[in-house]
């Protein structure tokens, strides 16, 4: 009896100490990389003993900062989506999965350990026996073709861009994907495409209604194993700068308006193709589901800062959250998972990530990110 009271006292002290530490360190503040709404996510990464995640490659940790995402039983508490930054190793303390960790509040399906390193593909760890020595694979290669559609019938539709401009857009997207720590390497080529006398599916009304027709073009106009971005004269009466055809079943088909797009439009559209398409409900219509992709900027702006890759109408992008990178690799809607059925891989990947920017679900919150930024 005396021992259990002492144990309870110790536990209370520990909780109080962790709470005080969190307040002192400012843990759990802004998770969105700046300008966002604070969340209650608060990770204690101060363990010095216990389960250790090390990295096989000596340059990982030094040149490539690491982050470990953990869900499961940890130090006697059921934790979900803990984030710890490597220094260079990550020590998680006393962790458990499987029968050892069975608790009513800690369902086995939620167990997960993923290591992220800038410039490398995210790596899953599937067992907690011993310590983990993670060996990262090179960044996932994503092949992209940018087509500058050149018209022959209507001079008013003549593109105002050159192939060099389009190449520059591709370089910019590649550089940004590398610097944001997406774990993807873009391999971009830019070509001119002449649709012929009638302009084919690239006339003045072009858009995702023609995605099917475009996917049947083949040859030098479409490559099924690449992401295909078409620079067309304008999109929907000039109202749009770019468009991705995910909900028409063609996430690999994208459009950019030659006359009115932003410098990082290609990078933004590639983000949509790679799974960042979940919609949110409009505040004045909370009871009905929004249209696919009908994103309420007023609502999301509270969570994703104006420099986030997926901020609508942004010009200069500098941030991408771990929650977004997770979706790009593990969401069923990501083009990378186009031929992998939902939950068909060990660990339940690819997953159906929740719509909400902050609610807990099968995937970490969209806005989950180390408070002081990464990489």
């Amino acid at each position: 009896m005396r021992t259990s009271r002492w144990a309870r006292m110790r536990r209370l002290c520990r909780i109080a100490a962790v709470g005080l530490g969190a307040v002192v360190l400012g843990c759990g503040g802004d998770q969105s990389g700046g300008g966002g709404r604070p969340q209650s996510v608060c990770t204690d990464c101060s363990d010095t003993e216990g389960y250790r995640v090390t990295f096989a490659d000596p340059w990982v940790g030094a040149e490539h900062p690491t982050v470990v995402l953990f869900s499961g039983l940890r130090n006697g508490h059921c934790r979900k989506h803990d984030l710890c930054i490597g220094d260079p190793d990550v020590v998680l303390g006393d962790v458990g999965w499987g029968p050892r960790a069975l608790r009513w509040d800690c369902p086995p399906g939620d167990e997960e350990l993923i290591a992220f390193a800038s410039g490398m593909a995210p790596q899953q760890v599937s067992t907690l026996s011993g310590d983990a020595n993670v060996s990262f694979a090179p960044a996932t290669q994503v092949d992209v073709t940018l087509y500058l559609v050149t018209y022959s019938t209507n001079p008013a539709q003549a593109p105002s861009l050159t192939l060099d401009d389009v190449r520059q857009d591709g370089d910019r997207a590649s550089s940004l994907f590398a610097s944001l720590g997406t774990g993807m390497a873009l391999s971009v080529k830019a070509v001119e495409y002449h649709p012929g006398a009638t302009n084919g599916p690239f006339d003045v009304t072009t858009g995702c209604t023609q995605a099917d027709a475009i996917s049947r073009l083949g040859g030098n106009a479409y490559a099924p194993k690449r992401l295909n971005v078409y620079y067309v004269a304008s999109l929907v009466e000039g109202m749009y700068a770019g468009m991705t055809c995910t909900f028409e079943g063609h996430p690999e088909v994208m459009f950019v308006s030659s006359t009115s797009h932003y410098p990082l439009q290609v990078a933004h559209e590639l983000g949509h193709a790679l799974g960042l398409v979940r919609s949110t409900r409009l505040p004045w219509n909370p009871t009905t589901q929004s249209l696919p992709g009908d994103i309420d900027g007023l609502h999301l702006d509270d969570y994703l800062d104006q420099y986030n890759l997926m901020y609508s109408g942004g010009t200069d992008f500098r941030t991408l959250t771990i929650g977004q990178i997770y979706r790009m690799h593990f969401d069923e809607l990501s083009w990378l998972n186009r031929s992998v059925p939902l939950s068909s891989l060990p660990g339940g990947y690819p997953r159906k990530c929740q719509d909400s920017p902050v609610a807990e679900g099968d995937c970490p919150p969209l806005t989950l990110h180390p408070p002081r930024g990464w990489p």
């Binding site: 995702c208 909900f247 006359t259 009115s260 109408g313 010009t315």
Partner: protein, 190 residues
């Protein structure tokens, strides 16, 4: 009533009633101001947020007639004059940063950029104008109030500079909005 209320009582009661009326009036005024701001914030989001789609326009169409002219006035200014100077300055700042990042990236590869900073800025400023004005025209077409139709008519009188890319796109958006043409089906993720 006058028999048991003294003059001072009546003055105090009158004062209370006056204060209550003033409070009610102020409250209603604040509420209507809030509603007006709500309308304008939807319009501002429509102009700026490219991922905001047709439901925003449906929301505009549902604004009561009494408040629609207010919104039309805001949109008319957006169509005829383009984005305000603060927005343009913010765009320039962001474009400057992108240009700098491009230069650093090219220098690291041992390349140089094929376009000048001036040409780069002009191209994206122009694109911003096209989106802003085309969206304003479309929203005015949804409202179809006397004020919005007048603004669209005025926009139709503006000369179209065929050299500046995008002018024909704006002109087409204005013509379609003036004719009350149904909105194109908006699918895909912008």
């Amino acid at each position: 009533m006058t028999t048991w209320l003294t003059r001072i009582d009546r003055l105090v009661l009158g004062g209370y009633m006056l204060l209550a009326s003033l409070g009610l009036w102020l409250d209603q005024r604040a509420a209507s101001e809030q509603v007006r701001q709500g309308d304008l914030s939807v319009v501002a989001a429509w102009l700026e947020c490219l991922d905001c789609r047709v439901l925003f326009l449906q929301r505009l169409a549902r604004i009561p007639h009494g408040r629609q002219e207010n919104v039309a006035q805001f949109l008319s200014h957006a169509l005829l004059n383009g984005p305000d100077s603060v927005r343009v300055a913010r765009l320039d700042l962001d474009l400057g940063r992108v240009w700098y990042a491009d230069s650093v990236y090219a220098a690291r590869k041992g390349d140089s950029l094929h376009t000048t900073r001036v040409a780069f800025m002009q191209r994206y400023r122009r694109g911003f104008q096209v989106i802003w004005r085309s969206r304003a025209a479309t929203a005015l077409g949804v409202l179809q109030t006397p004020g919005s139709l007048k603004a669209l008519d005025r926009a139709l009188q503006l000369p179209i500079d065929s050299i500046a890319p995008g002018d024909s796109t704006i002109a087409r958006a204005v013509r379609n909005a003036r004719a009350g043409k149904p909105l194109p089906t908006m699918i895909g993720v912008p």
